[in-house]
């Protein structure tokens, strides 16, 4: 089992669409895949047409009263399951804080799923909190989408620093460009410069494209309504690069 958290300190950078589409790619190539929607807004649950509600909410979940497996929903796609969000996830920080060793809790919850899934994607809410620390402890890879702007560069460096300071040695930070607009001179320049200074950034970049934006209308992963486009190609290439890193990790 590989746990991949799709995470960024900033909001609106394409986390959810990346988590959903990468998970779709993984499942499509035959891997047993789960998306865990940790964001109380429940966007990835929405994309899979699953009600953003779990029995007992975050309290029961963290208290270990319910097996994660009983809360999982099959999506409309083969090999792809979803653990839906719940509005109570907005209080996850408080619930975690009440536990001993709060940052170990997610890891503990995920452990029984190791036999069942090859890949688990965590769709995380933005900002650095106790929950994100628990996510870092539970994950093997931190996939961080970055929009090619100067501000994004700053947040990426913040994240790197945080990982180093917290001694998360087993966590591999893998950034990639998201919502990239090659028509914009600034995007092009930042991407070219950043790749030189940050070789860990993946080469495949997810474009800023209208077919990705349509996911909200279609309520399914990109691959569910488009066979082939620049965007599907980009996600596919991105997934191949991530897969290669997982194998080497």
């Amino acid at each position: 089992m590989n746990v991949l958290a799709v995470y960024s300190i900033k909001g609106g950078v394409g986390k959810t669409s990346s988590a959903v589409n990468l998970a779709f790619n993984a499942a499509h190539s035959g891997y047993r895949t789960l998306v865990w929607d940790l964001d109380p807004q429940g966007a990835s649950s929405y994309y899979f047409r699953v009600k953003p509600k779990i029995k007992g909410g975050s309290k029961d979940l963290i208290a270990g009263k319910r097996e994660l497996d009983d809360l999982i929903k099959g999506t409309d796609f083969e090999n792809l399951d979803l653990l839906p969000a719940d509005f109570s996830f907005r209080n996850l920080d408080l619930v975690l804080d009440a536990k001993k060793k709060p940052t170990q809790q997610l890891k503990k919850l995920l452990k029984p799923l190791a036999e069942e899934y090859d890949f688990i994607f965590l769709d995380c809410p933005p900002n650095i909190s106790l929950l994100s620390e628990a996510v870092f402890e539970a994950s093997d890879i931190l996939l961080s989408p970055i929009i090619p702007t100067t501000l994004s560069l700053r947040t990426l460096d913040q994240l790197k620093q945080f990982i180093e300071e917290n001694g998360l040695k087993n966590l591999a930070l893998i950034p990639f460009f998201s919502m990239a607009d090659r028509r914009k001179k600034m995007h092009r320049e930042i991407m070219d410069n950043l790749i030189e200074s940050h070789p860990e950034i993946l080469t495949a970049a997810i474009p800023y494209a209208s077919d990705i934006e349509r996911m909200g209308l279609e309520r399914m992963p990109l691959g569910g309504y488009i066979k082939k486009s620049q965007s599907t190609k980009a996600y596919n290439e991105l997934w191949q690069e991530i897969l290669a890193r997982c194998i080497n990790n």
């Binding site: 899979f48 047409r49 699953v50 009600k51 809360l71 999982i72 929903k73 099959g74 409309d76 399951d81 309520r219």
Partner: protein, 506 residues
């Protein structure tokens, strides 16, 4: 909750879909024609182990699925155009599921069904699929539908299952479609087993009972004939030979019930059958043991033994060809059908033979008790210096005893006779091992002479030499074991069990 349902007769898939659409949001996803072929070994190993193996061929795909017979859940599946014969020719999960069940037996098709499949999705108000349905429309059987629940939406599955039975008149289908399909062909599963299972009435006249036993054995001979000729797997010939040997043993051991001339005539025929099938079986045994032979050698010379494998394969093919010709010969066909006719003929009201009037129970007691005592005598006469032939003779006597006990098993309390058969079987093992190792040793020497002229690498002969040495060691240790195993067999407890079960004077 059952997930499989049978339609009432005359309800078509399209009518069903129309009716279901009134009660739930159902979308037809696809519809295709396919041919399903079910596979099993000749002795129904998959079915006996609760597994069905189905190849589903349609225009666009061909896939093999192993399913749990009871739960209907899929065990493993893979894309296949042709189904391989042996489990070791599969890969992955299918192989791991098949290997321990099939062992050396081949898969062959048991029946074929044509069907039109419809895939339906049941969706909720968010247009999310919450249940999948697979409808299978057959030509000569009632149609069926299977529910494939989506994880986390069990309530929907329950709800739809209720609609199917309460509103649409479907019945839970607890038996797989395979059974219905077999019934169409006049067959049923487990219609062949290599185990002898003869039900006798103790009061039956001995001559009539003996013919009944021979008819059972004849059925086994005929059942294995085609698989032997086609060399589908080595078990056909094995079972064929066992039935032949049992018949021979019956003719010599169930004494004085059939006319002497009949016994002499057919004893000769079945002895001939034993002879012509021997060489192929011996070579089968070497080939089945081959991996074991290899692993008994030091790792550095194991691969040197491979030319022996090639030699054995070629030799077996030749032997099998000759055997197949003989099983297609007029002599074989005519004599076997004459034997069949003879067994079918009603018996004389007043038979002339001395034991024919006895009840089969009387005769069984007498024969088993006598042969058991002979086995003890022969065993007692064997000491450390006794020649191999003495052990061989005892082995034959024990085989006769075993066959008699198996023929007449139904005449005795099940638990007691089974226990004695098991004890005998254990003793037979040491005798069998001794004899087998001796024969293998001898034959390997003969093979090496034949292989000399075939430009076989010298290292192969070296490896064969080591193998012979290993077999010789095993033969010696079996010989050493004999005395203690015989002591076990003839112990008082065992003798009195035999006496109380078979000695009529007791």
């Amino acid at each position: 909750m059952s997930l499989h349902f049978e339609f009432p007769a005359n309800l078509s898939a399209e009518q069903f879909i129309a009716q279901l659409s009134d009660k739930a949001d159902a979308q037809l996803v696809s519809r295709h024609y396919s041919i399903k072929t079910y596979y099993d070994s000749f002795d129904w190993r998959l079915y006996s182990n609760g597994v069905t193996c189905e190849l589903d061929r349609s225009k666009s795909a061909s896939s093999l699925t192993l399913t749990n017979l009871k739960t209907g859940l899929v065990i493993a599946g893979a894309e296949f155009d042709d189904v391989p014969k042996f489990s070791n020719q599969f890969a992955g999960a299918v192989r791991s599921a098949l290997e321990p069940i099939l062992e050396i037996r081949a898969l062959s098709s048991v029946c074929t069904l044509n069907c039109e499949s419809y895939h339906l999705n049941i969706t909720n108000k968010d247009e999310k699929t919450v249940l999948r349905l697979l409808i299978e429309e057959h030509e000569l059987l009632n149609n069926r539908v299977s529910l494939q629940p989506v994880k986390g939406y069990d309530k929907t599955a329950k709800h739809i299952a209720e609609i199917l039975t309460a509103k649409l008149g479907l019945m839970p289908a607890d038996k797989p479609v395979l059974l219905a399909a077999l019934r169409l062909q006049g067959r049923r599963p487990n219609d062949y087993s290599s185990k002898l299972n003869i039900n006798l009435d103790p009061a039956m006249r001995a001559d009539i009972a003996s013919k009944y036993i021979y008819s059972h054995l004849l059925k086994a001979i005929k059942a294995n004939e085609q698989g032997t000729i086609a060399d589908t797997d080595s078990e056909f010939l094995h079972d064929f030979r066992v039935a032949v040997r049992r018949t021979r043993s019956g003719l010599s051991q169930i004494k004085g019930v059939l006319p002497d001339n009949i016994v002499a005539h057919y004893a000769e025929f079945f002895s001939w059958l034993g002879q012509i099938t021997g060489p192929t079986r011996d070579l089968d045994v070497y080939l089945l043991n081959f991996e074991h032979y290899k692993s008994s050698l030091p790792a550095s010379i194991r691969e040197d033994l491979n030319p022996l494998h090639d030699f054995l394969v070629a030799k077996k093919q030749k032997a099998h060809k000759e055997l197949a010709t003989k099983l297609r010969s007029a002599r074989y066909k005519t004599t076997l059908s004459e034997w069949e006719q003879y067994l079918k003929k009603p018996s004389f009201k007043e038979p002339m033979e001395q034991n024919a009037h006895l009840t089969i129970k009387e005769l069984a007691d007498k024969r088993i008790w006598k042969v058991f005592n002979r086995a003890l005598q022969e065993g007692d006469a064997i000491n450390r210096e006794s020649p191999a032939e003495a052990l061989h003779e005892l082995r034959k006597t024990c085989k006769k005893l075993r066959y008699l006990m198996e023929f007449f098993q139904s005449l005795y309390p099940d638990h007691q006779i089974k226990h004695l058969i098991k004890t005998l079987k254990g003793f037979q093992e040491v005798l069998g091992d001794f004899q087998d190792y001796a024969v293998q040793e001898q034959n390997l020497k003969l093979f090496s002479e034949e292989m000399m002229v075939l430009n076989t690498p010298s290292n192969t002969f070296l490896a064969m030499g080591v193998l012979i040495q290993d077999l010789d060691g095993r033969r010696c240790s079996a010989r050493k074991d004999f005395a203690s195993r015989f002591e076990d067999f003839k112990q008082e407890e065992n003798r009195s069990a035999f006496k109380s079960l078979f000695d009529a004077k007791d």
